[in-house]
Symmetry: C2
Subunit: 451 residues, 2 copies
């Protein structure tokens, strides 16, 4: 199966960036024009503010408009403030409302208001800025086509001809006089119907919908669970106000997965491999400090048993084994739990059975690993009691790591925090501290037989 | 913002499962009928083989057909073999071809052939079974509407009326006499065009496409990068043979993210919080054993310095700090790298600048953490030379962890393996081994001043 290590367009992007770096703006501007807007967006994102401003001057409004569409929210925050407000207004003139809102969210509120005043569809864009940007209201497209149930297929077609293409171009939504969603009609069914057919006789059931204040992750779960390609968004009174689609939610899914993966190891959300070094350091250091603070907890346990270690230095050999196994087993369970929560599976399937199950798995893997490590400890150090200490504490550590791996994300979520937030750091702390306590405590009790 | 901890339908699913468990099949069958197919699928997935067979007998073909559509590939492998072949053929009778192919891939090849022979659209389903199930050819929908460029809008509409709804119901693909993709026409544009207009004058450019042997992750990257909601799939000769859509690729994106997260900590792909305990143990134990083997490498380093530790037992206190910091910093970089590779960003943006950048970050965070840990070591143990040993080895460990975090996934990928495969285990091994070597080695050199 084909898996290309590098995209062919990557070379072209780097070529333009290199020319800008070399000060050759003329040829860079000529080259960037032939690129796809997605690649043009990459070029802009890779430049410094100065270089970007100079290149932006040579890009026309239409090109700028499509480039803005391909910048991620993170990239927009760097690029959008470098564009003059009049040019921004011109570029967003006929951009989909939720795209325009994304751009306006990347600049200051005052600047956003100046641009908004110049947009012909300000009444669609404005309300989007009111919603939390991680809610269904913040990501929805408000350009939907709505008709009454008594409209005919022919009227719908006439209406379509008179309307600019809405975001979900293949569905017409049927609403009652209060704007409540009744159902939807697919263009395909509209085309194949008799012109006089009422929409109420063509429409499918409304199906699942979400409200504007639903979290984007839950909107994603609903769309995925019910295999939809568009999910209606209603306001608090049940009035249809927008739609969010599989392609928008695909981007959300990738962002949410990235966030979870990053947070598990204590990375903040928008850390990227391209962020400037000082930014990266400022973002990573606080979490490494937190990790350090928790590492000192484990160190304190070891310090408490310094007397035991002074009598048998060989005990230190087994510390990395206890810590390594406990940490890995705990991270396995935490990862499973965080992912199941993100996919909406945790509460649906798991919460009733998962705790006894993880304890059982901890016991079984703990016995297997405990016997193995105990035997190695016995033979290696030629002392059966050392084997007993390391084996039994391995068993106890495996049980604890299953419990901690499960309970850390559950408790984080219960306090209202993200279940993935630095979960890995907390889990390894618990397993390190308790693992060392088991092992060094047991070794202290047996010290006369071990020494 | 609303974030419901539990879905309302979860209770209904558990209610049906409980009734089946209690042997009350009649009322379970009555209850399951009113659930959404997605919830019905959950019930079937949660039952044992025996219970499932008995409940399946009470579900009609139409319901079974929609249930099959909502089962994940993993669930299908448990459920599909429990359905009689004739019923399976009946249920798949008018299922989309790629859905039918998913079901057939979950049963034995012989059984699949028996069912395939009975399907009216066997000529669409059959070829899908030939492709790797992680390739674009394995996930595409072959039901596409293709017309010649000289066809008129009216002919296209007549054609639509005569054709059952294809998967991507809002696009008509325009192909030449050899089946090569020329462009596509949206239904909205078709409806609003004059009936005599040629499709060639209505169509948009073909845009990006993938071949049947493209890996699904790359297809996903292409769709996302270019903001498409449908991505054409062509065969080796460039002939259009199918399409894959944003909603299909959304499922793929979630699967790929899950796989990466799991593999990072040494979990095999289809591990779930519901798998039976013996299955979970069988799947986790080999990776824990691998982790154990690598933990012994770190233990061996400590053992080599047993003499040093015997003189200053307090050195053992700092082992968890070195290991904890190195492991966490390494996992941060590995996670960033694996995710960037999955999103197609690594090669596009990063590979030229990322190595010097990670070294620089390692140096800066290493100096900050080294000074801090060194000072704590000095004050805590009242020995400046111990502070020097722990501080300098912390700096060295942070640099090594950045390098290892980056190079482990890069090297894994270069050997053709998944860059996430047990990457966390390898990275923490490297950081543990080298971190202990730095610290205990340096402490040994300074032992006369520390002791």
């Amino acid at each position: 199966m084909k898996r290309s290590a590098e995209r062919p367009d990557a070379a072209a992007v780097w070529d333009v960036v290199a020319r800008v770096d070399a000060g050759d703006l003329e040829s860079a501007a000529a080259l960037i024009r032939v690129l796809h807007a997605a690649d043009q967006a990459d070029v802009l994102a890779a430049l410094s503010t100065d270089e970007r401003r100079r290149l932006l001057d040579r890009i026309d409004s239409a090109a700028l408009s499509s480039i803005l569409e391909f910048l991620t929210p993170d990239e927009l925050e760097h690029v959008a403030p470098d564009v003059e407000l009049d040019r921004l207004a011109e570029a967003l003139d006929d951009a989909p409302a939720h795209r325009a809102a994304d751009v306006l969210q990347a600049i200051s509120e005052d600047a956003a208001n100046v641009v908004l005043d110049q947009l012909p569809h300000a009444e669609l864009v404005g309300p989007l800025l009111q919603h939390d940007d991680q809610s269904a209201g913040g990501i929805m497209a408000p350009e939907i086509l709505t008709l009454a149930p008594h409209a005919s297929a022919q009227q719908a077609i006439d209406h379509l001809r008179a309307t600019p293409a809405p975001t979900v171009r293949d569905l017409i939504y049927v609403v009652d006089h209060a704007g409540q969603l009744l159902g939807s009609v697919h263009l395909h069914d509209l085309i194949t119907a008799l012109p006089s057919t009422h929409l109420r006789d063509l429409m499918s059931d409304a199906g699942p919908s979400v409200t504007t204040d639903t979290h984007q992750e839950e909107a994603l779960q609903t769309l995925q669970r019910y295999g939809l390609h568009a999910l209606p968004v209603v306001d608090q009174s049940g009035r249809l106000v927008g739609v969010t689609t599989a392609d928008d939610l695909l981007n959300i899914a990738q962002q949410e997965a990235t966030t979870d993966m990053f947070r598990l190891v204590g990375l903040v959300d928008d850390e990227a491999l391209t962020a400037p070094i000082d930014t990266a350091v400022r973002r990573r250091l606080p979490w490494l400090m937190l990790n350090l603070a928790t590492a000192f907890a484990a160190a304190a346990v070891v310090a408490a048993f310094e007397g035991t270690l002074a009598r048998v230095a060989a005990l230190a050999i087994f510390l990395p084994i206890i810590a390594g196994q406990g940490g890995n087993a705990g991270m396995q369970v935490t990862t499973l739990t965080v992912r199941a929560m993100a996919l909406g599976e945790f509460d649906r399937h798991f919460h009733r059975t998962v705790l006894p199950r993880e304890i059982a798995i901890g016991v079984v893997t703990g016995i297997a690993l405990g016997l193995l490590v105990g035997a190695v400890g016995w033979v290696w150090q030629d002392n059966p009691w050392l084997g007993v200490a390391v084996g039994v504490s391995m068993l106890a550590t495996m049980i604890v790591s299953g419990l901690a791996g499960l309970l850390v994300p559950v408790l984080l979520r219960r306090t209202g925090a993200d279940p993935a937030l630095a979960a890995g750091i907390f889990v390894t702390t618990v397993t390190d501290v308790l693992g060392f306590l088991f092992f060094l405590g047991l070794a202290s009790l047996l010290i006369d037989r071990i020494a």
